[in-house]
């Protein structure tokens, strides 16, 4: 990230009164039938989704509200329809496969279910919910609805996959907007979708800043409720518990829960609309070429996940050293490739690299494709490129740069740099045989950078059994149910004004 560019954006946004595009293209694949999820938790209760809304983005949502999510029976009864829909949607998307042209054995799902949520904290909330549901114990011989367990496994998969740079299986919209728009918001403030949206499209005649501060006060996105929201919730839940008098019978509870459902419907509706609007806005932007490649990687992971689940597979809750090592390598790979693809395909994304001296741009003065030089022992043919840059550049001799048109191929090596007009004259030598397609034409304006889209050598999978050095003295616990506590009776709520030092319980 270039600090100069960030300063430029801040100045222009302050001046113009609205956010500016960071990109000219969309760098995340957005599907036509994304599956939206909104979660509201009970304050401080990390495993208790007091309300879950789901449905097609841009369409109607369904709402599941337990009333008392800390009661296992009510909670599961409320979550089951959501779980069932999610499972159906996942299996549906995975149904159709195409044979892979290249590479791995598994066939590739034609599609993959794309989840869309308001923010990264919702991703975290779904991860914990998934962890809770995926390993439910059948307490008292009562096996929970299998959809709950399966949905839990899906949520676990999605939230872990969320760490892959450039992935599009689960899209937290705050991240999507922050990637595409420059605002006056500090990183912390960018976590609020409504605030971001307000700076991107402030009401006419209102400065982005004023619009966003108002949104910050008035819009609530969740999943964690504010004090005011839960003061309401508290009253409603207490009444509900009093009326139901311990009953968990659907017919008895259904009428009583209505006020709570309304309470959450009022909270979900604006978030749902906001998600639809922001999603549509980004979808309207032309997609960068490489999003299909990245989504193909996503589809592969998605397919493998579904097959694994279908085969009754379970996921570890703690990586083995092998998984961790291979994941790290995969993520680093994905990250550098994503960065490179963004900048190479999108001129706006190349700007920071030009500013930071990691890329140079200029006009090709001439190309000499029959230069002879000694590579180790033998004489070889190489190409020399003379580039006149727009701006003075500092480059050490021998520095390797990739022409953006051949970023997957061999680099050019700096031979010399000398002042020329307002900029510099840079002579570079191609580090491989000059073939057609590898050489730019004289007079062309080209960009070379440190970015490349191919890594050297594909890594081999590690041995399944870890060496003795990597075997923990005590073997890590097998995945275990974590729902033991949900048998406990709901805890009494206490209003902050009623305690001497409410901060003490943060």
């Amino acid at each position: 990230m270039s600090t100069a560019l960030e300063a430029f954006f801040a100045g222009r946004v302050h001046e113009g009164g609205r956010a500016l595009r960071r990109t000219t293209l969309r760098h995340t694949h957005l599907t036509d039938s994304p599956f939206g999820i909104v979660v509201w938790r009970l304050g401080g209760e990390r495993f208790r989704a007091a309300a879950v809304a789901w449905g097609p983005i841009g369409g109607q949502f369904q709402l599941a509200v337990a009333g008392e999510p800390r009661n296992r029976d009510l909670y599961f009864a409320a979550l089951t329809p959501f779980a069932a829909d999610l499972c159906a949607a996942v299996r549906g998307a995975a149904a159709h496969r195409v044979a892979r042209q290249r590479g791995s054995r598994t066939d590739l799902p034609v599609n993959a279910l794309q989840l869309v949520v308001a923010n990264r904290s919702t991703v975290g909330a779904l991860g914990l919910l998934g962890r809770y549901l995926a390993y439910l114990s059948d307490r008292g011989g009562v096996a929970p609805d299998p959809h709950l367990l399966e949905a839990g496994k899906h949520l676990r998969f999605y939230t872990r996959h969320a760490r892959v740079p450039g992935q599009a299986l689960i899209v937290p919209l705050d991240r999507l907007l922050a990637d595409h728009w420059a605002t006056l918001l500090s990183p912390l403030e960018q976590a609020n979708l409504a605030v971001l949206d307000a700076q991107i499209e402030p009401p006419r005649g209102v400065h982005a800043f004023d619009a966003s501060t108002r949104a910050e006060r008035e819009a609530h996105i969740g999943p964690e409720p504010t004090e005011d929201i839960d003061r309401l919730t508290t009253e409603l839940v207490q009444t509900f518990n009093r009326r139901r008098a311990g009953s968990v019978d659907r017919r008895t509870v259904a009428p009583l829960v209505a006020p709570i459902v309304e309470h959450y419907r009022r909270l979900v509706e604006p978030v749902w609309d906001l998600m639809a609007r922001t999603f549509a806005r980004e979808q309207a932007l032309p997609a960068a070429p490489s999003v299909t490649r990245r989504f193909e990687v996503d589809r592969e992971a998605f397919g493998q996940h579904v097959d694994w689940i279908a085969g009754g597979g379970r996921y570890r809750t703690i990586d083995t050293p092998r998984q961790a090592a291979m994941t790290l390598r995969r993520l680093e790979e994905a990250q550098s490739r994503y960065e490179a693809e963004r900048a190479i395909e999108d001129p706006a994304c190349m700007v920071p690299f030009l500013l930071d001296g990691d890329a140079i741009r200029g006009t090709v003065e001439k190309v000499h494709d029959n230069h002879r030089t000694v590579a180790r022992v033998r004489i070889v043919q190489r190409a020399l490129l003379t580039l006149d840059t727009d701006h003075p550049v500092v480059l050490p001799v021998g520095k390797k740069l990739w022409w953006t048109a051949t970023a997957h191929d061999a680099p050019w090596e700096v031979v010399s740099v000398s002042p020329q007009g307002d900029g510099s004259r840079v002579v570079l030598m191609l580090t491989t045989a000059p073939r057609a397609g590898r050489l730019p034409t004289a007079g062309a304006r080209i960009t070379l950078s440190t970015l490349r889209t191919r890594s050297d050598g594909f890594p081999l999978p590690l041995a399944p059994t870890p060496p003795w050095t990597h075997q923990p003295a005590t073997t890590p616990p097998a995945p275990e149910p974590i729902d033991a506590g949900d048998a406990e009776a709901p805890l009494p709520a206490v209003d902050g004004s009623a305690v001497a030092d409410p901060e003490a319980y943060r």
Binding site: M1, T3, A4, L5, E6, A7, F8, A10, G11, R12, V13, H14, E15, L20, R21, G43, G44, E45, R46, F47, L128, R131, L185, S186, P187, L188, I200, E201, P203, R204, F209, T213, R217, P225, T226, E227, I229, D230, R231, T234, I318, D346, V351, L354, L355, A484, G485, D486, A487, E488, L491, P492, A493, V494, G496, V499, E503, A504, Y505, R506
Partner: protein, 395 residues
Amino acid sequence: MARQKKSKLTTAQNEVLAVVRGRARTTRPNVRRLAAFANVHTCPTAAVAFAAGVDTNRVFTSSRFEMPFGQSPFAIGRGIAFEQLLRQHGHAELRRVLTDGLGVDFSIAPIENLREGYQPNRIGLTMRASVTKNRMREIITGPPRPIILDGAVLLAEVGGLRAFFEADEMAIGVGGAIIVGENKSWPIVDGRPADEDALGSALDQAATYALLGRYTLDAIGVDPDHVSGEVVIVTPRNTGLTPVLHRQRVDGRIKRIERLLGSVPKVAEIANDIPADLTFDTVADETAPEDARLESFASITERLGKTYDPGSCLTSCGLAWACRQCAFSAGDPAVAGEVVARALPGVVTLGRVAELSHGAPPSPAEAPAAGPIARAGRLYGEAVPVATPSRRRSA
């Protein structure tokens, strides 16, 4: 160990501070306020408010600058319930978790419960503090048997004034050491906290108690290192409230807290050179118009100076929204965050940044920052010829 000497305030000084507070609601320093202050300790306005005991979280009550720092009743209820769970049936759970976690048998250890039987005021706190000190002394004088202090009270000199800090628990006599414990009601799942920052601040709190414990021992001529540099955090495991204990070394954090206590401005000094007639009275006046309150606040920050850094202020200071408003009004680059502010040595306002990006001639002072910005402007112009227009909603 250097220990600040506490000093009483003169009547005059107290009057000055009373003027500064005006109608503003007040607060006493405690471990969390101290931690919050650490995040804004370079801000002169925050320093004055802290010294004068102004409750910054409530200065802007019932205005659009009041920040939602409150917590859900469910969250607070959970916290209280967890504390109770640890104490019920003669602290059975606390004993169990300490015994399991520290490998010392606390099942029959005496428990000094300092939360009950003392007046909820400074007299009570003073008594609790002296009991705490005596029990701690026993680590060398008394028999080598484990004791648990529930609600130990430790003395601190904050800004040269005496303050009381209440530790969750203190396990004395663990292999000849004293171990400080902090309870949190958020869960640990698969050996990981849901939030590393929450764990970080919990460890900072425990580190504060450990440091104050060392001060206490030092003051009574006992080797301060009897207070272990290792602390314990007690949290629920998974769903529900079943407690589990985690040990962690916090030597680095203890050093940090020592620095912090050392850098809290002396209340007396602040009282002495505070500009006369400077007061939070109007700012805290809920009957006054919002803009008047903001304006009064603005003039305070103008006279004292302020540092607005969204990264730390928005999470730690109740004045942050008002500060942000002032910063924006002044076109202060700080609104956009530290990265931007850092990129602009010699350039004072965002308005000027925009001008420089349009090619305004920079002054010698602006030149270093101006070059890259102007170039950014050119490059962005090439890349994004016309700013992508998007449908505007009408207000």
